[in-house]
Amino acid sequence: MIETTHENPITTLPYTPMPAVVTKIITETWDTKTFRAEFTDEALKENFTYEPGQFQQVSVFGVGECTFCLTSSPTRKGYIEFSVKKVGSVTSALHSMTEGGVVGIRAPLGNYLPYHEWKGKNLLFAGGGIGMAPMRALLNFCLDNRDDYGDITTIYGARTPGDLCFKYEYEEWDSKGKLHLTVDAGEDDWKGHVGHVPGYLKELAPSPENTIAITCGPPIMIKFILPEFANLGFKPEQIYTTLEMKMKCGVGKCGRCNIGSKLVCLDGPVFSLAEIDELPPEF
C-alpha cells in the first residue's frame, strides 16, 4: 500500500485521484453549473500548474469519474474550475453537491492550446453553449497576458439568453477584448443579436490576417462553422478546436478515445483543423 504523498501523483500514480473541496458553485444555466475546487493537500494546491486546453478527470467517489476541461485560467491560482452539464450519473451527482463537498481530481491531462506560438497574433474565439468552457481557460489566460496578443474577439452563442454561460465575465471579455453575443431565439428583453454562431461569424466577417481561430461547440455548430471560416479565408492550420470522446483512464490506456491512431486523451484534446483533416472521419 502506498499512501499518496504531497506531490501531484498524476505522473507516477495516474489513476489516483487527489481530494479537492468544492469552494464555490455557480449556477450558469438551468442545466449547467461551474464548480470551483481546491486541493485539500496544501502543497499540491500551491504547486499545481496546468495549461489552457488541458482536461481533468473529476470523481464523485462511489459514483464514478467524468471528463471535464479545466475551464479556469492557470493565471488565476489556488483553484481550478470545471463546468458541468447535467446529463448522466456523475454529472447529476455533481449537480446535487453543495459547497464544502469533496471531489477527486486527476489533472492535468492531455495537450493544450499552443498559445506560446500565437504571441503577437489576433485571437478569434467562436463558441456555442457549453463549448465556451474549454475556450474560457485560454480567453482569460490571454486577457491576463493582454500585451502578448493583438485583438481578442469572442463570438459566443447559445439557444436562448438563459443558456449563455459565464455571464459574470462578459464585461471583462468585452472591455479587454471584444465580445459578440448571439442567441438562436431571443426573448422579449433580449437586445442582442439573434441567429446561429456560424451565420453571425459570416456577418461579422473577421479578417484571417495574422489570426488564429479557436472554435468549440456542439457538433452541428462545428459542422456549419468550418465552411464559414474557409469562406473568410482561414486556412486549416489557423483553426483550432478541442475534441470530445468518451474517456475512462485519460492516460492512453483504456482504449476508447482513439480516432484512427490518435488518442484524444494523449494526442489531444486540442487539434488543429489541419490535423483533424488527416484523421479518419469517425466523428
Partner: protein, 346 residues
Amino acid sequence: MADKLIGKDKIGDFLKALMSKYTVVAPIERGDAPAEFQEIADGDTPVLDGSKNMMPPKDYLLPRHEVLVKIDMSGGETKVETPLPEDKPRVIMGAWLPDAQGIQVLDRVFLDRKFIDPYYARRRENLALVAVIPAEMRWSWFCGSVDDVDTWKAGVDALMYDLGDKFYVEVNSDKGAALLEGAPMSVVSDVDVAAKDKLWTEFKNTGLLPFAGKALYENLAWDDPVWGEIADKCIACGMCSYMCPTCTCFDIQDETCGNCVERYRCRDTCQFEDFTLMGHGHNPRSTQLPRSRQRLLHKFRYQHEQFGVVGCTGCGRCVELCPVNVDIREVLCRTCAEPMEQAAEN
C-alpha cells in the same frame, strides 16, 4: 548459455527449485475449460507443454478485476490509497510463443506511452518469460503471417520446445540463464537440434496466409465492404476481445461499501455499444459496422502506426471461438492479399 535438455520427469523438481526463488505463474487446468495462468503452489501440476487450451497470460498481468484505488471517507476525511501489486520476482512459464509475444504488445500500451501503468509495471518489471512451442501446432495459428517470428525469440528469456519425453530449452537472455541455473539439464545432441529445428520450421509455416509484410497493415482500408459484412453477422459479444492476448481495453467503475469506495478496472471491448457512448447520448460508433472496423484497424493499422508492430500475434483464439465464424484470417486474406497479387502483376 548453451541450449540444454530437460526431461519431463525432471520438471517437478525443477519447478520446486524455481519456486524457492520466484513466484511461478503457469497454466493450471480447470476441467474442460481453458487452463488459466495462476501463481502455482506446491503440488500443482501446471500444463507446461502448451498442449491444452488456455486463457491468455494477459489475465495475470492485467487481471480481469483489479482494484486501482481505495477511498476511505469515514471520520470526515477523504483518504485515498493506491494498492499496488507486490514487487517480487516472477516467472511466467508454459505460455505459447504467440502469447508471450502478446505481452510485448501489452508492454507498448502500458509501459511505453507518456504514462506508465504502475499496476502492470509492478508485475512486469521483475518478470521472466518462458515460452513453449508445443509438439503439435494448433490448427488456428497464423503467427508467421503477422510478423517475422524469428524476432519473437528475443522477447522471451527462454523457449522450450516439446520433444516428446523432454523439452529442448533455448536460453535467450541472462535472466533466462539465471532462471535455469542449477536445473537438472543435460547437453543436446545433433538429433535434438534437428528435432528442435523441425518444430521451429513447422511453427513458422503454420497457417501461412498468402500475403506478407507491409500488405498486412497498409492495405486495410477504412471503407472496405468487409466491415459491413462482418457487422451483419457479428452478434456483438466480447469474446474475441476478452480472449485475445493483446486486447487491453478496460473500464473503470466505482463500488461503494459503507464509507469506503473501491475503484476497480475490468475488461471492456470496442464491440460493446456503450464503449464509446457518451453521457449526453452521442456515440461516434453507434452501429456495429464502425465497431467491427475499429477492432481490426486498431490491431493491424493503428497499433502499427503507433508502435511499429501489429497488435495481433496469430494465436487463433478468435478463429476457434467466434460464435458466428468470423475468421480473422479470411478477413485479412480479403483485405490484404488482393493488392499483393496486383503488385506481383506489375
